[in-house]
Structures are given as C-alpha cells and as structure tokens.
C-alpha cells in the first residue's frame, strides 16, 4: 500500500463492493433488455418491475458507495487528517452490505403485493420509482448517510474559517446527501404530494447534491493529477456549485408540470431547467483548462479517461439531453416515454458512474502499490463502455421518438400489437448496445483486479519512452486543441442538441399532430445521430491530444538536460526580440524535443507571453530559480 493516510486504505473495500454492485446492476440491465425483447421471459418468476427496481436501486447504491470510497480516498488529503475512530468506517461498510441484502430481500415482495403497510407507512417496500425500498431501508440509509457526513466532516479542520471551496463543496455535499434523504420518509396520502416529495429526493440528489460532490471531486482529482492551481480550482468549484444551486433548485419543477400540481410550475420549471446545463458546460471547460497544466506525465491515463468522460457525459447527457426535454412544450410530448430513459442512462452512469470508476483506478493503483502500468485494457474498457452507453442512449432515443408518434400523436394504446412493434428495432439495438457495454464492464473489472500484472518497471518505462521518440509531424487529431476548437466541438454538440429540441417541439405542429411525423423524425434522426457522432469524435480528438501530450512529456523526461540547446536571453534587451528568439527556437523543435532558456531575470513572467505566442502546447519546467540565473526547459508537445 502506498497511502499517506490509513483512512485512504479503507476506500479500497468500498471500491470492491462498488464493483460487485455495479456488476449485478448491469446484469439486471441486460435482463431488462431481454424482457423488453420477450415480455414473457421469467414472467411470474421475476417480473419486469422487480428486475427494474433492482436495476434502479443498485444504480443508486453503487454510485453512492463509489462516492464514499472516493471521499475516503481524497478526504484525508484535503483535511490532512485521518478519520477517527476507524471502526466507524468498518461499521459503515458492513452496514451498507446489510442494507443492500435487506433491500434485495424485500423488493421481490412486490410480486406478492406485500408492502408491510402499518397505517400509511410501507415498512418493507413501497413501489416508488427509484425509492422502492421500504421505510426500514430508508431509515437505515439515513443512519448510514449521517455517519458518513460525520466521518467526512471529522477529517476537515476544526476552524471553518480555514476551509477552502473544496472543503465547503464536500461538506455541503455530504450533509445534503443525508438532509435531502429525509424527504424519502414522507408518506403522503395523495399522489401529487407524494410525487412532489419523491422528486425532492431523486432530483435534488442527482441534479444538485451529487452534482455538487461531482464538481468538487473532479476539481480536486484534477488538481491532484495536473497540479492545477488550488485557487483556480477553487474558483471553478465555487461558481460551478453556485450555478448548480441557482439553476437546479427551481429547475426541479420540470417534474411538476403534469403531476397534478398547478400550471405556474410550467413557466418556472422551463426557465430554470434551460439554465441547468450552464454549470455542466463550465465544468467541462475547466477540465479542458486543467488538462494542460501538468508537466510531469500522468501515470494513470485510464483514470483520466474516465474523469474526462464523466465531465463530457455530464455536459452532453445531463446538460444537452436534459435541455432537449425539460421545457414544457417539449416535455408534454417527451414525458413518460423512452426519451427520458435516453437522458437518464447518460446522466446517471455517464456523469457519476464514470467519475467514481476514475477514482477507483487511482485508488487501486495506490492500494496495490503500482507506480506505472500499461493502460490499454483500461482504455479499451473505457471505449467499450462509451460506445455501449451512447448506443443505449441512441436506442432509447430512437424508440422514444417512435413511441411519441404512436402513443401520443395517434393515441394507439394496444401495447402488444401497436406500441411495442413500433419500437421493435430499438429494442434489438438496445440489446446489442447492452452487450457492448457489458463487454466493457467485464474488461474494466478484470483490469482493476489484475492491474499488478501490467505493472511497468522503471527500465521498461525508459525503453518505452525512447521508443516513442520525437517526430517532426503529428496527425491533426493529436495536435493541441485550442480554445476555439474546443468551442467548435461544444458548439457542434449543442447544435445537434438544438436540432433534437426542435424535433421534440415540432410535435406541436398541426401537420404532425394530424398524423404526419416526417418533420420530427427527420430532425430527431439527424439530431441524435449527430449528437452521438460529435460526442464520440470529440472524445477521440480530446483524448488523442491528451495521449500525444503525455507521450511527449514522457519523452522529455528521458532527455538529458545537459545536452540541450541553450538560448541565452541575457544579452537581449528588447522584449520583442526575446519573444522572436524564443519563437524561432521553438519552431525549430520537433515534437518531443526541448531547449533551455537562460536569463538573469525571473522567467516566470515569460510564461504568459509564451502562452500568448505559442498557444498552450508546450512544456515548461523550471530548472533553476535565481538569484543570479533563471533556467527553464521548454519542450514541444503537440
């Protein structure tokens, strides 16, 4: 083990539990996809609703377990202190297992119609989507969350005044995790009240509390990875969290359009839901900025892949897809169809699942005392999960589009012979995507548990770095991504998102309502396919540039600083001439080569200049810092 704090070692068992729950959850997902194809499958033995209750609850539980693991992993670094007493962590861990087993035993009671009602309180299970567990599960979970909040706060400094934004982010996150859960204890007599408070838990968890934790953890993990400036990360965390609360608080009311609550929610919900993507774009932008900070190569590239994927899917799946459906005029068509599931899979697994998997990669590496390892399996699993996931989303989007036409526009309701057949192809596609996803998950779990087999020794790494070598040309996919290009990609994703939005809105057109689906089918077809392809290509582009940058950083690490060409800036007086000299030297470099700059003045002021002149595609390593001489090594990356 290679941990600074003992608390961190405890995170490992949470990650193992998380992977087990994840595996079971996706097997239930596969089962659901199969029942979609053959509705008689396991009928009477394990009905669809029970399997779905497992699928949803496990999704929530494994991600929360992952959050716990991640916070135990990074918390001591943030608070510079261990948790006491340790037995409370162990207690939390076993309590979690007991809750899972208990809930797994009670959920199948739905097949017999047993909820354990005493008065109006369902003690065993309660048939509320996402919160299917009964009151006993709810109370146990509340205790668990409270313990967890206590443990997290215990690690932080006593003096609240010394907290930075990340302390605050996590503190608010873990307290709200327990606080919001209190609303799951409400059993209302009326359906509108019940649904109202159900969304307090479901929405405020995923669209507020989890996002706050997510943004804080991404910020913290990236500053660990790239040595990003804590102030800058703090800035991003504060404004990210503020935007989440600002938009998400009233944005919640997009769930209150049609559940029997008043119509004024349609205005408020539409307005603030439209703002909900802002923090998510903001977060992705900061991931983009932070990626260019480090000058030592990232030792755990798969972890970075997953963290990047998390920010991307949060922006695309939660942000863009959420935007396409939460305004009232779109929502009236989308509500209660497969389009919701298209958004849900990306927003839940894409945003939160990928993040905790990223943290798992780092924790496992530290736990098994591995410095470097070959990441090809991790990356393969990332791409399979990525493609499987967008495939699942695409299948739901395709089926949902057909469903809106058949079910809402035509009002056909013979499920077996009209609605289901209309969505038949989407079901097949869903099954295939699920298989790709599961292949990715199998490789992921295998890679995590056998990472030690792929460890790379110091000498081997040296040899590998030499093999990478330097080159005079690189493909345009591997070139540094400038802010403008990032903007174009994001703009592309949003463009197709708006096309989809237009498609959903177009169901309001009279011609469409009269029975001609051409306009929405074309718009949504182009929109969804464009969205998927743009997202995929953007991820390839971003990660290729990342690979190039990291490879070149490794090559530069190998170079002997003594033999580098030295540019002496001491005799040069004019700033313009200095810049020219540096630029010329830089342009002569091959990718993966470097020169050394020497001056009698502090060179750190040259850094922003270089930024301006060269963009951000260079490595900057300070070799000597005054008082007589300043020396900086500058390398060309991509």
């Amino acid at each position: 083990m290679n941990f600074q704090y003992k608390t961190q070692a405890f995170s490992y068992r949470f990650f193992v539990l998380m992977l087990i729950l994840f595996a079971v959850q996706i097997l239930f997902g596969l089962l659901l996809a199969l029942i979609q194809l053959d509705p008689d499958l396991l009928k009477g033995t394990l009905n669809f609703n029970v399997a779905r209750a497992f699928h949803l609850n496990l999704a929530v539980v494994w991600i929360v377990t992952g959050f716990m693991g991640t916070i135990l992993f990074v918390g001591p670094l943030l608070g510079k202190k261990d948790i006491r007493p340790f037995w409370l962590i162990k207690f939390l861990f076993y309590a979690l297992i007991v809750i899972v087993i208990w809930t797994a035993c009670t959920l199948p009671l739905a097949q017999k119609g047993i909820a354990g009602w005493i008065g109006n309180t369902p003690w065993l299970q309660q048939g509320k989507e996402y919160l299917e567990g009964g009151r006993i599960t709810d109370v146990l979970l509340l205790v668990g969350f409270t313990i967890f909040a206590y443990l997290t706060l215990f690690m932080f400094p006593r003096k609240v005044k010394t907290w930075n934004e990340m302390h605050w982010g996590l503190a608010i996150g873990v307290c709200a995790l327990a606080g919001v859960w209190v609303f799951s204890l409400i059993s209302a007599k009326n359906l509108d009240t019940q649904e109202y408070f159900r969304w307090y838990v479901v929405h405020y968890w995923v669209e507020a509390v989890w996002e706050i934790i997510h943004i804080t953890l991404i910020g913290f993990l990236l500053s660990k990875f790239f040595g990003a400036d804590e102030k800058e990360v703090g800035f991003a965390v504060f404004w990210g969290v503020s935007l989440v609360v600002l938009s998400g608080l009233i944005g919640n009311s997009h769930h209150y359009f049609w559940i029997g609550t008043p119509a004024f929610w349609q205005f408020w919900g539409s307005l603030f839901s439209a703002l909900e993507p802002l923090p998510l774009i903001f977060c992705l932008w900061h991931v983009y900025l932070d990626e260019k900070h480090g000058i030592t190569p990232v030792e755990n590239r798969p972890a970075f892949y997953f963290i990047f994927g998390s920010a991307l899917f949060e922006s695309m799946g939660a942000g863009v897809l959420g935007f396409t459906m939460t305004m009232a005029y779109a929502n009236i068509w989308e509500h209660g169809t497969w389009l919701t599931a298209a958004h849900g899979h990306l927003a839940l697994f894409g945003a939160f699942g990928l993040l905790v998997i990223g943290a798992t990669y780092e924790a496992v590496r530290k736990y098994k005392n591995i410095y470097r390892f070959r990441g090809y399996l991790g990356k393969l699993s990332f791409w399979l999960l990525f493609i499987g996931l967008v495939g699942i989303m695409g299948s739901f989007a395709y089926g949902g589009t057909k469903e809106i036409f058949v079910y809402r526009i035509l009002g056909l309701d013979w499920w077996a012979h009209q609605v289901r057949p209309a969505m038949a192809n989407a079901r097949v596609l869903l099954g295939f995507s699920a298989l790709v996803f599961i292949a990715g998950a199998i490789i992921l779990i295998y890679d995590l548990f056998t990472m030690k087999n792929r460890e790379i020794s110091e000498e081997e790494q040296f040899a590998r770095n030499n093999k990478l070598g330097s080159s005079s040309r690189i493909s345009m996919w591997r070139k540094n991504m400038m802010p403008v290009e990032f903007g174009i990609w994001l703009g592309g994703i949003w463009f197709f998102g708006l096309v989809v939005t237009g498609g959903v809105f177009s169901f309001n057109l009279h011609s469409v309502r009269a029975g001609d689906p051409t306009i929405p089918f074309i718009l949504m077809g182009i929109g969804y396919i464009g969205l998927i392809l743009t997202t995929l290509l953007f991820a390839v582009r971003f990660l290729q540039a990342f690979e190039q940058r990291q490879n070149m950083l490794q090559v530069l690490q190998n170079t002997d600083n003594e033999n580098l060409c030295v540019i002496d800036l001491k005799p040069v007086i004019q700033v313009r001439d200095k810049e020219k000299l540096i630029l010329e030297a830089f342009n002569r470099l091959n990718y993966g080569e470097a020169f050394v700059m020497v001056s009698d003045k502090n060179l750190s002021e040259q850094h922003p200049v270089l930024h301006k002149v060269l963009g951000v595609s260079f490595a900057w390593e300070s070799l000597e810092e005054g008082p007589q001489e300043w020396k900086v090594k500058i390398g060309k990356l991509n």
Binding site: P39, K43, E129, N190, I250, I259, G260, D413, W414, A514
Partner: protein, 325 residues
C-alpha cells in the same frame, strides 16, 4: 490582483444573496402548490371511494405491487406498459374489474357484462345497460370489440377482490387529477389512425392469439351445424364468457382451477372440506362462486353468473367440462 480578489468576493456575496432569493421564491411557490383555489381543487384519496374501498387503500395496493416499475402514473414510471393516469375515464370500472380479475387476458363482452351487473347490484355503479356503458367508455368498447379474449402481456398477479376495488378507486382518483393538459389530446383523423394501426399490427409479427379458438358473439350461439352438440355449445359458451382467461383446459394453473380432469375429481376446499366435483358442485360454482373456494385460490374474484345463463347453457358448459378428461 487585490482588486480582482475584491471583485470576486463581491460577486460571490451577490451569488449567495441571489441563491437566497431563489429559495424564497421556491418556498412561496411550493406553498401555493398545495392550496386549493377556485380554479382547481385537488382530489383527495381519502374522499374518493369505489365499492366501499378508498382510493387511499388503492394507492397502497398500487404501491405494494410496484405497478410503477412497469406502467407509468402521471407519466412517471417504467414506460414498459401503458400509462394509467386516465384509464378509469377511458374504460370505466366494469372493464377494469373484469381485467384486473385476470390480467393475463383481455375480458370479453360477456364477462364485462357480468361484472357490470354485479357492480350495479352492489350499488357501486348506477343502473345502466352494457351498451350504454360501452358508449360512455369508448376505451372499454374498443377493448371488448378488438381484444376480447386475447392474451395480454401483464402477468397474473392474483389480486384479491378488495384489492381490485381499491385499485379501481385509486384509478378513479388519478383520473380526477388536473394534469395540466397532459397527455395531449389526439387530433389526428380516424382514417390516419386506422391506417397506421393496421400497418403496425401487420408488422408486429405477434399473432393476436385468442386464448381458445375463434371468438363469436354470444347471441349467435347455436346457429352453426357443427356447434349443435351440448359439448360444442358448452365450449362456445366458455369462450364467449371468457372462462378460459382464468380456467385453463390443459391443466395449468391460472387465476382459477383448471377445467382439465375436473369433473369427478376430489376437490379440497378452504376450511378443510373435500367434495366431489359433480354436476351439482359445478353448477353451484357457476352461480355462486364464493360459496365453495378451492384451496389455494383467491376468494371473491369470480363474478356470479346467476341470471346471465339459462339452465340449458349451464348444463352445456358442464357437459363440456365433463369432456375435458
């Protein structure tokens, strides 16, 4: 640099104030969410009842069976089965009662009628004829005409008679919810809908498998030459009445006991008695199904067929059951 920090501090304070303001708006709106106004009155599960069961109990049954993880209710749920919010307005209580008694099969016209008569007799539904009922609830009419006796995808959950009434009360309640115009009204013309529906059904690949044999209207019985023997007439009766939705002819267990090998067998009843399934027993079971409940089967689910069948028709059915060895 310090001016930047000052600016940032100010901006952050402003952000926190704005968030505070949002929380204020949020609280005010939330309070108005649950106050009745002249324009809208919220239905109450404790007030809405059906056949002596409250919608509140229906809501508990609805949750106990986790209906929401297949169906949707006010659009929330699993999208695996139809939305139920307005189903009561669409199909009415008699069709729902008939369907929920044996969800594996869509009820026939005759079985809806039997349920309707029972509901009228118990006072749960005001006096009406079947045709008036079907005219009032077009969803029930189309279901009976197009799907009567056809297999449904829903599993048989074995609801008790009280569960069924409570569920109907809950669905009556949910149909009263003001859902703000959702789901949107269908304005496409009948011809377009018909055309698309036929296309989908031919594409479906699923055969509209009637549970047993061909469906005939109950009034046309005895017209055909082949159907003139008592056994054939009895078989026709069981099809028209939808008996097969609950009673299999191959020995498998559905909602009720199978007809196969029933006649002459020893049947153990609730309460420990054992009787021989003879003509008198079967006759009594048709006319007063709740007098003797077979062990392991739910009570009060089967409607009483007294008054809907002639003596001759009953004896035909018994002859048919007798033939299923």
């Amino acid at each position: 640099m310090s001016s930047f920090i000052e600016k940032e501090k100010k901006a952050r304070r402003a952000a926190i104030w704005i968030i505070g303001g949002m929380i204020g708006i949020w609280i005010v709106l939330s309070i108005f969410s649950f106050t009745d106004s002249a324009a809208r009155k919220r239905p109450d599960t404790t007030q809405v009842t059906f056949a002596g069961q409250t919608a509140l109990r229906g809501k508990q049954v609805f949750q106990a069976y986790n209906c929401m993880d297949c169906h949707t209710m006010v659009g929330n749920g699993a999208y695996f089965a139809p939305d139920l919010t307005k189903i009561y307005d669409h199909t009415g209580p008699a069709w729902l009662k008939a369907y929920l008694s044996s969800p594996g099969t869509y009820p026939t016209r005759a079985i809806v009628n039997v349920n309707l008569q029972e509901l009228i007799q118990s006072g749960a539904v005001g006096p009406t004829t079947l045709d008036d009922y079907l005219a009032k609830y077009p969803g029930a009419k189309s279901r009976v005409e197009e799907r009567g006796g056809v297999q449904a995808l829903m599993p048989n959950l074995g609801f008790s008679a009280d569960d069924i009434k409570a569920l109907i009360a809950f669905l009556k309640y949910s149909s009263k919810l003001n859902t703000g115009g959702w789901p949107p009204k269908v304005i496409a013309s009948q011809s377009v809908i018909q055309r698309e529906a036929e296309k989908l059904e031919s594409e479906s690949g699923l055969i509209k498998s009637r549970v047993t044999g061909e469906l005939k209207s109950p009034n046309s019985s005895g017209a055909g030459g082949a159907g003139s023997s008592p056994i054939a007439l009895g078989k026709e009766q069981t099809i028209n009445l939808g008996c097969a939705a609950c009673h299999s002819v191959d020995g498998s267990k559905l909602v009720g006991p199978s007809f196969k090998g029933l006649f002459g067998s020893q049947v153990s009843l609730d309460g420990g008695r054992t009787v021989t399934a003879d003509t008198a027993y079967i006759r009594k079971s048709i006319l007063e199904p709740n007098a003797d409940i077979v062990k392991g089967f739910p009570k009060s689910v089967m409607p009483a067929f007294g008054g809907t069948l002639t003596d001759e028709q009953i004896s035909d059915i018994i002859q048919y059951i007798k033939s299923l060895k």
